[in-house]
Symmetry: C2
Subunit: 202 residues, 2 copies
């Protein structure tokens, strides 16, 4: 699933060895605990080569998960603009990703996350370090509420993706994007920015 | 996964042969197209034995999917009582099922549905024939809107189950039931019974 482009030099075997070592390290030690140095040692290469191939640790992590997107791009797109419209922008950007050329990779990722415990563990790290840690500052939420608010919204969206793109339940699977944005956008808006009576301790 | 109790007579191999033939028939022909007679023939037994072991075709279908519950029980529980509280009852009953002794079977079912196309196909039949067909009359919804309303609610709940019980994302995984009922109940209520501007054609 890793795309190789003209801009990425090097031996495919070396790249794959680094990705394999990275998967093991991230699954065993978590994102913060896994060092580029240890991953390089695991792959039998120099740490400089890891940086050369993959750039930052974030980028290496996303590549090791075969992530179809860098969530920071989605977060940046969604948080730019009117705060009262963040819900509808979020749902629209999410659906556009799944309906676009990267949708097949997203289905593959979702299947693998559900299928095995170690990919589930990687995905927890993904949500924590690539989504929550990067989204909270941009969303301007109360720190005590932010993680529950974002995971409520994310759980709805991942369920929508599961129903629409993996299980393909009708009429969800064929519903126009605008219909789903109108239905689900207000829910995501409520989870992210509105009062949620009974949810947070007073 | 199939529970055998003192009330269920017969040879385990025969039961398994019937379930195996049922899975194939339901996946290939759908719930309505698969006949008890053809399933019995596939298993090399008399149709009366299929009825004797499993009762109705609905029950045989649920057994063939290793369904942890009969959705009609959940639907009956949720639709009894005040219509304005249906959302919170739905979320509470759903979480209680996953947190109860049948939760492990529910996780296994969700994993298998995501893992393979033929279980996804079976699950589509499950949603159509065991949930939608049975829930719509009890919910008293407009027939033109009912399927989208119910699948919107169901997609949220399946996403919640995925995040909380399979991927185990915090803080969702450890959130008290009451917190999630307070957060998600109003969403399910809105999807099922409230106005959804922009969702249904005028």
């Amino acid at each position: 699933m890793v795309r190789r482009t003209g801009r990425r030099p090097g031996n495919p075997d070396t790249r794959e060895a680094i990705l394999s070592a990275a998967r093991t390290a991230f699954a065993e030690k978590g994102f913060d605990g896994a060092s580029i140095r240890a991953i390089a040692t695991g792959a039998g290469v120099d740490p400089a080569l890891v940086h050369h191939y993959f750039g930052t640790k974030d980028k290496l992590f996303l590549a090791s998960m075969n992530s179809p997107i860098d969530p920071i791009d989605l977060i940046t797109e969604v948080t730019a603009g009117d705060r009262d419209e963040i819900g509808v922008r979020f749902v629209r950007a999410f659906l556009n990703m799944w309906d676009g050329p990267r949708g097949a990779a997203a289905v593959a990722l979702l299947r693998s996350v559900v299928g095995t415990e170690w990919t589930a563990k990687l995905f927890r790290e993904f949500i924590l370090t690539q989504i929550l840690r990067r989204a909270v500052p941009k969303l301007g939420l109360d720190a005590a509420e932010a993680h529950l608010r974002i995971t409520l919204a994310a759980s709805h969206l991942v369920g929508l993706a599961l129903a629409r793109y993996v299980i393909k339940v009708e009429p969800l699977a064929s519903a126009p994007t605008d219909t789903l944005v109108a239905a689900i956008g207000p829910t995501v808006q409520r989870y992210l920015t509105e009062e949620l009576p009974g949810v947070f301790p007073a």
